[in-house]
């Protein structure tokens, strides 16, 4: 993404009208000198590591050792198989589902949050930031305990009489989904909060004066006006979920292992870095394509009346 830098104003004493003759390069170079800093950072910390990964994905793996430089498509060819295809499809499916649930819950939550008193808002935001500081490991194992048969909440429900006997709810698809939602929720709130708190409170009020109930107002004014922020939150949580490699192992069965788990497995346990790199790049390409699709959908909806 490049940002449009406003054209620098001519600062030398030129006669108006003859600017076409003056070479503009000398000034603009000096004024853009500071851009070197982010450029260097981008190259050192992003382009070089990414370039290495792209290169490695074409390297030849040496069994029992590491890898050697080569150019082969075997790594890419290998995961064009039903097994990896299913893993990819499942990764995208559960990430998208969790993103949709998170945003569906976080949006009304944040809307109510922005209508609270300032002090209460700050308290909630601090709590959400605190949740954010928990590591994926802690969250994974906490949910695993909470959903277990021996020490989980099902004991409580059985005690109250809502369940006949305590049940094991983990590992399962539901447990994994709950874990991913818990992980993504604070991010969604933090993305939605600025937009929702900037929303002109007179917009929903105008809708109510025109006869729309609060619920109708929410869906016909608040949601469409903030569609861009909702899409941003969806994309963020989706991408974030796609990268989760610990929760599927803690809360899911092997059939719930996402592509990220398989990448970790290849990179760390099988020492097959070239194959892991190829999968990571493929996952990234798929992810970018889906994000582009979502953004295009958002743009189209905007253009249509």
């Amino acid at each position: 993404m490049t940002r449009e830098v406003p054209a620098p104003a001519a600062d030398d004493a030129r006669v108006p009208g003859d600017f076409a003759l003056a070479p503009p390069t000398s000034i603009s170079f000096r004024e853009h000198l500071w851009l070197i800093y982010p450029a260097v950072m981008l190259v050192v910390f992003f382009i070089v590591p990414f370039g290495i990964m792209v290169a490695v994905s074409f390297f030849h793996r040496v069994e029992g050792a590491f890898y050697e430089p080569a150019f082969e498509l075997a790594n890419y060819a290998r995961f064009i198989s039903p097994f990896f295809g299913r893993a990819l499809a499942f990764s995208v499916w559960i990430s998208a589902l969790a993103a949709a649930i998170v945003v569906a819950v976080a949006f009304p939550f944040t809307y109510c949050l922005t209508r609270m008193r300032r002090a209460a808002q700050v308290r909630f935001l601090v709590f959400i930031l605190a949740v954010l500081s928990l590591s994926e490991v802690i969250i994974g194992f906490s949910w695993s305990t909470l959903l277990s048969r021996t020490a989980g909440v099902s004991n409580l429900l059985a005690f109250v009489g809502l369940l006949d006997q305590p049940a094991a709810w983990t590992p399962s698809f539901g447990a994994l989904l709950v874990g991913l939602c818990y992980l993504g929720f604070p991010y969604a709130v933090l993305v939605l909060y600025p937009a929702l708190s900037r929303l002109d409170p007179e917009l929903p009020e105008a809708s109510r004066m025109l006869g729309a109930s609060p619920l109708r107002t929410f869906f016909s004014v608040v949601v469409p006006v903030l569609r861009r922020s909702i899409i941003s939150a969806l994309i963020l949580v989706f991408v974030f979920n796609l990268g989760a490699f610990l929760l599927p192992q803690v809360l899911g069965r092997p059939e719930h292992w996402t592509l990220s788990v398989l990448i970790t497995d290849q990179a760390i346990f099988q020492s097959n870095i070239p194959f892991a790199a190829a999968m990571a790049i493929f996952l990234m390409v798929v992810c970018l394509a889906l994000v582009a699709l979502t953004l295009a959908f958002g743009q189209q909806r905007r253009a249509a009346p």
């Binding site: 009020e205 105008a206 109510r208 004066m209 025109l210 006869g211 107002t217 004014v221 905007r302 009346p305």
Partner: protein
């Protein structure tokens, strides 16, 4: 009486926004709620709209108690300060938003949108996005949207504050003419006394959550009920004095005869004498007559169309406004006599 506001009060925590507001408005009139910012005028409008619930008192329309009715069931049209046009909808869809909610079909909606745009003199923009309109055009769209459902009451919260001065004055006239044509009961909140004078049948002057005066615009100007109203409406000379006898106020020891006195004021009471600047006459010579004060010119502001003369009389600064034709030949520092005609003197409680 159509709209009845019965002893309404509203507090936000420890802040008393409205204190025992008791008003009655007839049908078909344009009422201006006028006052400085923070006086409670917007809170009162929001209580009438149903966007706030009064802490005490009741609001009735034609005898029907509306106090507990939510805003979306009142069928009042409202124009907001920010206009609050929906940015995701076209001009036409903004206008017919309320009709759509009531399930009116597409063709009828289009026709009504065209009708309303004609009414606010902005035809042919129904398909444009709101973002493409100028400030004045948005204003008209907001008015059209508020009128789309033929509301029982038309409420406007500082509707013209976003417009530049010239456009604002033109819109005041237009809005007033539109209201008269439709005969719709209208309440406008404003802090601009010129706006209130231009548009209103009845002005409600408010300060610190209390109603200070309810009267026609001219009455609030000519016989304000207290010094606050006198100061807020137009420009005033407010001179402290002491009541002496049946028709005289002593100002710096000099007797000023007044044509009328409020009742319930005892002899010797501290009062405030109000004289509007256009009633004050400045004479170039030191004439010593009835209701004359002597002083010295401290400033002359010649605005071309009018001349404002500031005269220092002892402790008092008095402002006189005159036409260029009647301007006395005076400069700063000249000794002058100032006449406060008895008929123009209004005595207010201190």
């Amino acid at each position: 009486m159509a709209l009845r506001i019965e002893h309404v009060s509203k507090s936000f925590g420890s802040l008393q926004a409205l204190i025992d507001v008791d008003l009655e408005f007839p049908h078909g009139q344009l009422i201006c709620l006028l006052g400085p910012s923070g006086c409670g005028k917007t809170t009162l409008l929001r209580c009438i709209a149903g966007l706030e619930t009064p802490t005490g008192g009741r609001i009735r329309l034609d005898g029907e108690d509306l106090t507990g009715t939510p805003a979306h069931k009142r069928n009042f049209g409202m124009v907001f300060q920010s206009l609050a046009l929906f940015p995701h909808l076209s001009v036409g869809d903004n206008i017919v938003y309320g009709l759509r909610i009531r399930g009116v079909d597409q063709a009828a909606c289009r026709q009504r949108a065209a009708e309303l745009l004609e009414l606010v003199r902005l035809p042919g923009v129904a398909d444009r996005p709101v973002a493409q309109l100028s400030g004045g055009q948005r204003q008209r769209v907001a008015i059209a949207r508020a009128l789309a459902l033929n509301p029982k009451l038309f409420l406007l919260d500082e509707p013209l504050s976003a417009l530049d001065a010239k456009l604002r004055e033109a819109m005041q006239v237009e809005l007033r003419l539109l209201q008269r044509r439709l005969g719709i009961s209208t309440i406008v909140v404003t802090h601009d006394q010129r706006e209130a004078m231009t548009m209103a049948d009845i002005v409600v002057v408010m300060d610190h959550g209390r109603v200070q005066q309810v009267a026609s615009p001219l009455d609030t100007y000519r016989s304000p009920s207290n010094a606050f109203v006198a100061d807020f409406i137009g420009i005033s000379n407010l001179v402290p004095g002491t009541l002496s006898g049946a028709d005289t106020v002593l100002v710096d020891g000099r007797p000023i005869r007044v044509a009328r006195l409020p009742e319930r004021l005892a002899d010797g009471a501290r009062v405030i004498l109000l004289v509007r600047p256009e009633e004050v006459h400045v004479r170039s010579a030191q004439v010593d007559g009835e209701n004359h004060l002597s002083g010295e010119v401290s400033f002359v502001r010649d605005l071309g169309a009018s001349v404002e003369i500031t005269v220092r009389c002892g402790e008092q600064q008095l402002l006189a406004v005159t036409t260029p034709r009647e301007r006395p030949r005076i400069e700063i520092g000249d000794p002058v006599a100032v006449e406060l005609p008895a008929a123009a003197c209004v005595v207010l409680p201190s």
